[in-house]
Amino acid sequence: MPTDIQPAGGEVRELSYAEAIREALGQAMEADERVFLFGEDVGVYGGAFGVSGDLVHRFGTERVIDTPISELGIAGVAVGAAITGMRPVLEIQFSDFVTLAMEQIVNQAAKIRFMFGGKATVPMVVRLPGGSGTGAAAQHSQSLEAWFAHVPGLKVIQPSTPHDAKGMLLSALDDPNPVLIFEHKLLYKMKGLVPTDAYRVPIGKAAVRREGSDLTIVGTSLMSLKAEAAAARLAEEGIAAEVIDLRTIRPIDFDTVAASVRKTGRLLIVYEGVKTMGIGAEISAMIAESDVFDFLDAPILRLGGADMPLPYNPQLEKAAVPQEDDIVAAARRLKREE
């Protein structure tokens, strides 16, 4: 259960992550006629992961638009619509396919405002289902978000709960900048409490999911949930882990992480993307170059994806990304370090 349910009006009830996104989209489309959703099979099919569901029936095919299989092109459509007054929400069917759309996202969307001297804005939202665990193998399981944390001009978020998924998507739609939302496929069916109102969860703010004094575990997306579960187990052994859900990877909420590490002196970062050059590298480096360095009582550990493409075989697939046991083991190791 998210610890930061906003004091939003309206009822609170259980929704799945996918439903929460759909609710946010529906509310945004009702409130603002500039908002529209498009992408491959988002219409009558309801989205490859069922996220758009019945939206096409509620808003019609003019605002919930099925596109050809043309990832570069549709990313360009988002840019063109955004700079001329619309608020496009683009679904890239699997985040792996963003490899086809990098040009428009990185060279155009992220840079137009700056290149034009501030004379245009690009308020577009891109939703990117990612992550492994579905047996979809190397080309349908990647966690590529770290690339985009390297691209000034973009904002990049990874909500891990239904509550945040809704609130951060609505914030993304308010944002005058291009915002990329990486949604982990395994989260879509997870349930959580979600207020009925159109509340916002801010971009750029991490959430402390659990307090603790022995070590800090920073997790992203699905891994922050695994970190919470691991922390519960660690508590039984007397290890008090503070768990932070990073939520936004560009810009990173350094203050929240730093405050925690100042307190605990130990830091473990858990993310699913390939460990090397994954988001944990940046968090580690930010801490290591700051004055928090002096508070460190142990090396900064990272748990990330193995250095390999995601394998198909389910046992190998599991072994290729951090699991709850790995987090527990790493935390124990970190606690022992002097």
Partner: protein, 340 residues
């Protein structure tokens, strides 16, 4: 699989249409065998999936067997194909072992990709299948590279690349066909137009009704054919393959067909009607060929049944092989990420 084409058809084939007459009995027998293998392979894969033996997703080509098998008929063993996410048919058509395919599906060490690739990445490199592809249109530019490689090595091979109607709207399609054309590469582009890219009907996705209408944009021959007609597919492919082998450049063949099953295992078929599916089910390319063969006295029903039964046995054995195969060793997790 290479076939021997009769220059002039023997007497008993004289009243048959030329596409059929061109195929001798051995060839037809093998073609039927492969179509049955594909059908059974996929039915059994579906079964295994339902029973939880296979994870991930899968894209079945049931109903599209003629385009896969017909296209590969004129190919030599060392010719290349590049396949798609819907690639089991291409794989078997090019001569792969169903046992190693099932093993891959089951994630076993004996699979074509040693359990690392799964359905969407089955490759039979030795057999000339350079791989299924999880990326729609991903094989198209690779095919141009294979064509260039063949040309540079002067090894007289040909590369066939399969892709779907949906893939024809990817930029990769455009770039690949243009390069193949300007460099006169020995590539045959085979579009399996099953009328939908996932839920998107070609009429909604594409500005032109036929994918082959786009061939003019690359100054290459383009033809739209009935993709459920095996002899026609084979004859059309042979012409394009021969042309490619003669160094006259690429061709685009569009096989109109239909996928009977949903796009993948999570498809609820909301975008098409039951009637449409039933209509196409009645156009089964296997039964159709069988009926024509019987009608022309090329085979009797008993022979056909024997071919099908043998295919069934082969598939049953293939599954047993796969089931009995070992899982990968977890200590080899990162093996083959790099070559040494």
């Amino acid at each position: 699989m290479a076939t021997t084409e009769a220059k002039a058809a023997p007497r008993e084939r004289a009243n048959q249409r030329p596409e059929l007459a061109a195929l001798d009995d051995a060839t037809l027998r093998e073609a039927l065998r492969r179509m049955h293998l594909i059908r059974k392979f996929e039915e059994e894969a579906e079964n295994s999936y339902m029973r939880g033996l296979i994870h991930g997703t899968m894209h079945l080509s049931i109903g599209q067997e003629a385009s896969a098998v017909g296209t590969c008929l004129p190919l030599q063993p060392d010719d290349y194909i590049l396949s798609t996410h819907r690639g089991h048919g291409h794989c078997i058509a090019k001569g792969a072992e169903p046992g190693m395919m099932f093993a891959e599906f089951f994630g076993k060490e004996t699979g074509y990709c040693r359990g690392r690739g799964g359905s969407m990445h089955i490759a039979d490199v030795e057999g000339g299948n350079l791989g299924a592809n999880g990326i729609v249109g991903g094989g198209l530019p690779i095919a141009a590279g294979v064509g260039l490689s063949i040309k540079m090595q002067k090894n007289n091979r040909v590369c066939v690349v399969f892709f779907g109607d949906g893939a024809s709207n990817e930029g990769a399609f455009h770039e690949a066909l243009n390069m193949a054309a300007i460099w006169k590469l020995p590539v045959v582009f085979v579009c399996e137009n099953n009328q939908y890219g996932m839920s998107m009907a070609i009429e909604r996705a594409s500005a032109v009704p036929n994918v082959a209408d786009r061939a003019v944009a690359y100054a290459m021959p383009g033809v739209t054919i009935d993709g459920n007609d095996l002899p026609l597919v084979a004859a059309t492919a042979r012409e394009a393959v021969d042309r490619a082998r003669r160094g006259e450049g690429p061709s685009l063949i569009e096989c109109k067909t239909y996928r009977i099953r949903g796009h993948s295992k999570s498809d609820r078929n909301l975008y098409r009607t039951k009637e449409e599916i039933e209509l196409w089910r009645s156009r089964c390319p296997i039964r159709r060929l069988e009926d024509e063969l019987v009608g022309h006295d090329r085979f009797d029903r008993g022979t056909l049944e024997a071919i099908e039964a043998a295919a069934n046995t082969e598939i049953a054995e293939a599954i047993e092989f796969a089931k009995a195969s070992p899982d990968p060793d977890i200590s080899e997790l990162t093996r083959d990420v790099y070559a040494n």
